[in-house]
Symmetry: C2
Subunit: 320 residues, 2 copies
């Protein structure tokens, strides 16, 4: 199976479980909680859960679909809360939860998704000791994600963030959830401690690469393709790797920390391309994926292992 | 041991575990997360966890102290988020988290506490199958708490909330966490399914009674004793049982939906006392506690069972 077909298959399974997970009578809070979940999304983290399980368990992962959904629920909760903090208006081509409803409902919708994540993790079919390890791993990941988001916001008040600080922030904000996705998939499928560590590290590296690519997409991809506000990072003065590498090359992006026309954004892109900034940023991401691929050699060869490699490659080549 | 000494002992144990649970180097987000935890609090929910465990396990509960803290962390997360939604300024005699820091940090501080709750639940010493049941119970409780808070907020836009709707809201917002506290204490200590159900129902009833008493305290107890804004429910037009019973007796409290002087608050109290409203509201709470005490007859007699009864009685007699 190629990656696209695999991702489609996982997305269908996850979406079907989402459909079944809400009762027949919906409260307003149920609708707010489900809003972003039903607005699409690529279900990449669930795919990592399933592939990690298959890579250590001879291709079978059907028992842990609820855990795959748990990771997507966790991701969605962080999006709903982040959108409030950043006051973003659009996400996945629809209004953000706190915009369509209000701030209190946004906080609660995120909190409901957070609870459901742990509920679903426990209804996977797996040994209880594996579930307890999985719950602990997800809980630690959630705490780190918050720390990462807090670092990210603190960077907005600074203009001297270093590469190292940026990568530490991204490790927490995005890396650890991919790490937990891969680790939990392996653990629930019965992998050994060494494999769990390998999968966790694979997820961490590819997750960091994913976020770097996300920062590139924010700048490079038109809103109608990404479904997000374009160049919102630049407008908010986010110290992304793009910003930091530009500064290292003597390019000051702070004059662009405001609402920008598409023409102005294109001008910034052109300047960054000419200075080699975009290329350097891309290289950081692709190097992380290469390192991840090397790690996967420690798992037995299988079609699922190759799909994990494909997903890593996709993370740093996608344009949406 | 009498209840006061028992509560002091649990509070000391929980506080000591809180101290040890934060590392030596604190980030700003760590400080925000710990802020309300270190501002005191009666640790009533942890006491219920410990007593429930002792009541089914011959008086031993030391192994599940982390679970007791987990319930307190859950409670604290809901306070931090509720304070943002209600824009309350003070809590436990200190500034609320989003007031001392800011709204985004408040959201994240709550989210960190939420994660830590599940982390601590898993580090209790108990069989893995019991831990999985406990995680599921806590997760379901968290989702219900959110639904309860959402109902509570929706009541602010209405003036026709019924007794039944109010009790349903309180069951979710406050009852289920006490229910989970008692249920989880019992489950981790190895109780049977029947005992778990009894303890859950005990916690549910006493938790509802606790909230009714909290509503009475909000109106009746001066700020310097409660550490909270006085009569904030009245000011915000919250449809508490006091408001509803008053309306049933033809007393319209809506003219008091504004900032009130202490003299005006005393005037309202006097009017409600004369109409028998306060007495009727108290009776709903005390009846729930009586029902809880009856339920506890299904557990073997023990000093811990008697302390559970004492805690229920305390819930509806406390003035802070």
């Amino acid at each position: 199976m190629d990656l696209e077909a695999y991702l489609d298959s996982v997305a269908r399974q996850v979406d079907s479980l989402v459909d079944r997970s809400f009762g027949d009578v919906w409260t307003d809070l149920d609708r707010a909680s489900a809003h972003l979940l039903f607005a699409g999304g690529k279900r990449l983290r669930p795919a990592v859960v399933m592939l990690a399980a298959e890579a250590v368990n001879n291709g079978s992962s059907s028992d842990i679909l609820p855990a795959a959904l748990a990771i997507e629920l966790t991701h969605t909760f962080t999006l709903v809360h982040d959108d409030i903090m950043d006051d973003d208006l659009m996400r996945r081509g629809v209004q953000t939860v706190h915009t369509k409803w209000d701030m209190p409902t946004g906080i609660l919708a995120g909190d409901v998704l957070y609870a459901r994540a742990f509920e679903f993790l426990c209804i996977s079919i797996a040994p209880d000791n594996a579930k307890v390890r999985a719950v602990s791993m997800l809980a630690r990941a959630c705490a780190e994600i918050c720390a990462g988001q807090h670092m990210d916001m603190s960077f907005e008040k600074r203009d001297d963030v270093t590469d190292g600080e940026y990568l530490e922030m991204v490790r927490k904000k995005t890396g650890v959830l991919y790490a937990a996705a891969a680790g939990i998939g392996g653990i629930l499928a019965g992998c050994n401690a060494h494999q769990a560590k390998t999968l966790y590290q694979f997820g961490l590296n590819t997750g960091i690469a994913f976020q770097i690519q996300d920062d590139l997409i924010d700048l490079l991809t038109p809103s109608e393709v990404s479904g997000k506000d374009r160049a919102s990072d630049l407008r908010e003065g986010k110290q992304t790797l793009i910003w930091i590498k530009a500064r290292e090359k003597g390019i000051d992006l702070s004059p662009y920390k405001r609402d920008l026309s598409d023409a102005e954004i294109d001008e910034v892109i052109s300047m960054l391309n000419n200075a080699g900034v975009i290329e350097e940023v891309r290289k950081v991401a692709t190097d992380l994926v290469s390192e991840s691929n090397r790690l996967l050699n420690m798992l037995p060869p299988s079609p699922s292992r190759e799909l994990l490699r494909d997903i890593g490659a996709f993370f740093v080549t996608r344009s949406f």
